[in-house]
Symmetry: C2
């Protein structure tokens, strides 16, 4: 991982410093994934068991830390799409990617926020985005040509539907972390050209009290 190895040309860190850098990155990954990019560096420092000063000595500012972390994450989304294009069955490939795309974001609030906001080093994210969109277009086209994916969706609809589903995953995560898969399944059923019966819904629907709990938690 690029975030973990020392960059060539930089003077080597003292052993304690290197250890702390790792602690900070690990704490940041966990904290951003669990709670989003809004967590403060003060909190990350406390979580990592170091002082804030130590964080700022290693990373010029919050932006740099976010960069160091999410370069990899975005690469994974792209890799998943490349993977999906190798599927024989084009619909299965599309479903594989789409479910993975949403699930990755559902499990990592930070990634979700990096993916569709303009945080972080604009550059890299924009670049990854430019690599991703053509792949999505090909996944869409293949599945449409096979007569599986409805013909009236356009490639730009897909990341938006992904974001929509990641959004509900965010809201329901605390109460039922797998609930979002129901809505992914319903959305995929809606994206098929035709079908005789609905696919089976994963996870359990919420109980009334759980729905109420979400409203209170907001």
């Amino acid at each position: 991982m690029s975030a973990t190895s020392p960059i060539e040309g930089e003077r080597r860190l003292r052993r304690d410093a290197a250890r702390n850098r790792r602690l900070i990155l690990d704490a940041a990954r966990e904290a951003f994934a669990a709670r989003g990019l809004h967590v403060t560096l003060d909190e990350i420092a406390r979580w990592a068991g170091v002082g804030v000063g130590t964080v700022y000595r290693r990373f010029a500012d919050k932006e740099s830390l976010i960069d160091a972390l999410f370069e990899d994450g975005i690469g994974e989304v792209v890799a998943l799409a490349e993977d999906a294009l190798d599927y024989e069955d084009s619909w299965a490939g599309f479903v594989h990617w789409f479910e993975g795309f949403v699930a990755m974001q559902a499990q990592d609030r930070g990634l979700k926020e990096v993916l569709l906001s303009s945080r972080g080093s604009q550059q890299r994210i924009a670049a990854a985005s430019e690599r991703l969109l053509p792949l999505i277009s090909r996944l869409v086209k293949r599945a449409q040509d096979a007569g599986e994916l409805r013909a009236d969706v356009r490639p730009t609809d897909i990341p938006l539907m992904g974001r929509m589903l990641a959004g509900i995953a965010d809201i329901t995560a605390d109460v039922s972390p797998e609930l979002f898969r129901r809505y992914v399944a319903i959305a995929l059923d809606g994206l098929r050209v035709s079908r005789d019966a609905p696919s089976r819904l994963p996870a359990r629907a919420l109980k009334l009290e759980q729905l109420e709990a979400i409203r209170r938690a907001q």
Copy 2:
């Protein structure tokens, strides 16, 4: 409307004060609808053309103002559900309500935030919510008994799907205010038991630059 008429038992306002109260409520409605509950009372005051002091003389705090405004809005959602239960065709009734439910939130950020957050006078919203859920259950049951709505969705899924769609409406509103209807249509197609062909998608998909614009705007 309860928000506009003077409450009985309260001393009558001087004419200029009454006029200002109206101006404030109108400005607040517009501002909350367009930009969400986070707009400051300072901004609402400027928009209304009065001083902040005037706002705070009429409404104890921001909460009270939100209350005064959204009592009505929540009632409308309930009324729409009651209306939908009168439809002969149970699926059409369900669709009528669901589309309206999402559209109302899409057109009013404030309403959306009031509906599923714990802002405002908890009490009234919780009460409305308790009136609404049984209505949703009946709409769902009717459409399922008729064999139109898939049997494996539960009533609690519906407000969550509504929120999910309202969420994407929020994000895309500036670029294409009707885009969310595409995703409502896809979701409804996914909610049917079976169908031969997809329904026709409303609105136009985004162009690549528009998708990019949304990312930048976040």
